[in-house]
């Protein structure tokens, strides 16, 4: 879980720099084309599996040679698939999706996270919780999607999902895995960052960033980006680890050093946020937190459950204030 996030963090820092440079370097014509594409991307993207060769941004632009690495081209690699590479990624995809592999803790935790998101979003958007696809009609972005462990359940619940991750490998794997099921093959995976999506002025009904914020360089800026992606009256969901004695003992000493669930050095305790801090920085980003729940791990059953105990893992659901833009 965290190794991806760590990579993401690094990539995020690098890419943000990159992205800004590129943005500055953009010519006017490029910008006008961007606007056109933006209109497109605000439309629902029902079939994102095929390369969107019709998208204006994919048209040859000789003056912008760095378009691919900047992530401005939304599908920089779809045309350059090669068998050997894909076979390699599919091998890694197996570990992302192996419930007893390196991402086991994430798989174990996922049902609990999803059930929180389900109940919070159903309540907020007044969706029928007894429906098999309660999120039908909702546009959701999964920031730091990794292999798509959260994006796929969201898509099965009917949402129009965009999964973004700064690590290109992750989005490739995620796309490869999502292709296996016709229901999830509609997920749009992009190798990009939240900041870039903000620049593209994309808006979502719900913005979800799970286990990401503890790895970003500037959590307050990150929250502002999440808020900017959230549509008016939309929802933002963030999960992270508390900065407490218990979290040091469990998330770092136990998970990294004793149980080897995570690679050592995955988490920096000092960069964790307490629930109060998170509420504060979200408040400043004009998102008011409505609900916070903790996750507790039961070592006997190996399952996670929601609880009032916020001392280690917790998840916050907030809504965007009406008066802010």
């Amino acid at each position: 879980m965290a190794s991806k996030s760590l990579k993401l963090c690094r990539a995020l820092c690098n890419n943000t720099q990159h992205g800004r440079n590129i943005f500055l370097a953009l010519s006017a014509s490029r910008a006008s084309q961007r606007i056109q594409r933006r209109l497109f991307s605000n439309d629902p993207q029902p079939d994102l599996v095929d390369p969107p060769s019709t998208s204006p941004s994919e048209k040859p632009q000789s003056h912008d040679t760095r378009r691919n690495e900047g992530g401005a081209g939304r599908r920089p690699f779809s045309s350059s698939l090669n068998d050997v590479e894909l076979a390699k990624f599919s091998a890694i995809a197996e570990t992302w999706w192996d419930p007893v592999g390196p991402f086991k803790p994430l798989h174990a935790m996922n049902p609990t996270r999803v059930s929180f998101i389900r109940s919070a979003l159903c309540r907020h958007f007044r969706k029928d919780p007894s429906s098999a696809k309660p999120f039908e009609g909702l546009r959701i972005v999964d920031v730091g999607c990794g292999g798509g462990i959260l994006s796929e359940p969201l898509a099965r619940m009917g949402a129009t999902v965009v999964g973004i991750d700064a690590v290109e490998k992750n989005t490739k794997i995620a796309r490869l895995h999502a292709e296996l099921d016709p229901v999830t093959s509609s997920i749009e995976y992009c190798c990009t960052t939240a900041e870039k999506l903000v620049e593209e002025q994309r808006k979502f009904d719900a913005v979800i960033a799970l286990e990401v914020i503890e790895h970003v360089a500037d959590p307050a800026e990150f929250c502002k980006s999440l808020a900017a992606l959230t549509d008016t009256n939309g929802a933002t969901v963030i999960s992270t680890i508390n900065r407490s004695m218990r979290s040091y003992a469990t998330a770092i000493v136990a998970a990294e050093y004793l149980l080897h669930w995570l690679p050592r050095g995955t988490h920096q305790w000092s960069s964790f946020l307490t629930p109060e801090e998170l509420v504060l920085i979200l408040q400043r980003a004009s998102i008011s937190v409505q609900e916070i729940a903790g996750f507790v791990y039961n070592p006997l059953t190996g399952r996670w459950a929601l609880s009032d105990d916020l001392s280690v893992n917790f998840i916050a659901f907030g809504t965007k204030n009406m008066n802010s833009q």
Binding site: P46, D47, V49, L86, S131, A132
Partner: protein, 518 residues
Amino acid sequence: MYRTTVRKIASNYNTLRVPKRTLSNDASAGISSTNSAKFNSALLACSTFQEDEKLGMRNMIGQYDIAIVGGGMVGIAFACALSSMPLTKQLKVAIIDSNPALGRRDCIEKTDLPDPRVSTVTPATISFFKDVGAWDYVQQNRHAFFDKMQVWDYTGLGYTRYNARDVGKEILGCVVENKVLHASLLSCLQKSDFHKTIYPSRLTSMALQSHSKEVESKLPGAKLCDHGSFVKLDLSNGDSLFAKLVVGADGAKSYVRELAGLKTTGWNYSQNAIICTVEHNVENQCAWQRFLPTGPIALLPIGDRFSNIVWTMSPKESSERKTMNEDDFVKAVNHALDYGYGPHPQSSSVSNYGDRLSWLIADMTSSSKECFEVPPKVVKIASERMVFPLSLLHSNDYASNRVVLIGDAAHTVHPLAGQGVNLGFGDATVLSKVISDGISIGSDIGEISLLRKFEAERKPANIMMMALLDGFQKAYTVDFGPLNVLRAAAFHAAQFITPLKKNIISYATGEQKWPLFS
């Protein structure tokens, strides 16, 4: 061959996709990813879901969420359970069974003689039937509730009488013919608007497709990966279908279990059971079970003065009893249920114990005061005598990737207490709930981690019941002095120790999951 068909499908799919894409680009907002899913289902619906007419349709490859192999009581019960829950009723289900009864809506004549194949359904199973809406049908047909049960053995040292009133219940169980149970579930399934397709055929092969292999073999035609999360099932009539999850409900000799490579543990008892329907002069309203040196004999009421007999004995004896003339067999049955092999237990001993152990039995249940009774005499045999060997079989795992076993395919038990089918219905209920929970959090329903939740919930319970029944079997087939005394002590304990008795009843009726410790 398979690959070409897949490719064909994929190309069809693609061509059909194009107009859809343009459509949804035109459309403003709100319709999207789910479109493709709906589209898929619409595509399939037109090819496979006109239930009755298209039963025999060949060479169409249907794509389903769940394929249930085996349309017996447990398989149909599972389909009913899915159709009764809001999150699972939208699933597309295929049922594969060559039994022609699944296709037609045959009525059961109430005047028919009772079939010897009966089940004792527990209150837990009855509430399941009520939940899915199948119990009304059972009530319109022959069934017999019983609220009393008497268990005793040939040594005459003790007996136990159980009464539903001991636990504040109306009934202990209900005896219903298997065909009635099956027809009730089937009619309930036919009435619902559930997306089901019945394939009147047998499974011949099953291809579990691993993701990595799929991806490797199908590059660069990425679209072909669509079937990567499906199992392909080939049927004996040439049909094929894809399913995200295969549910093996195909009985003790499960072919699904074999194809999935799930190993079993088990043994044959060198014993056979004779089953048949018998007639009395009076109505029988109690379930009777007597342990004989050769094995137990059970007499279960099925209404209209009929009872069902399940009589366990050695294979040699069973072949004699099957072929002997009817009058002799009736005599042998009466002998076995009355004075044969040993005296009646003494009712008078009750008061002696009562005085001495009053501290233990202060809170006596009403049935503790009941005297030993002799079961009603059998006057006639009302069906053929059927013989089948007894065995115990348990699958070491209930689930593998995209395959899960329920009912007898996962566990075949001794028919001692008629618990076999109740365990199967328990499996069906739990599996449907696990799948519903999985759908609520957007899981892939064929995912092994989800199926393991079902296994974790059912396996210990099933093993406990199997171990108890096996233990009973072993304890009663040994005629050995000290053991006889122990058995007698167990009868007395069960007869007079109220909490123990209540516990036994709640466990046997499926109200409580664990014996003794809960």
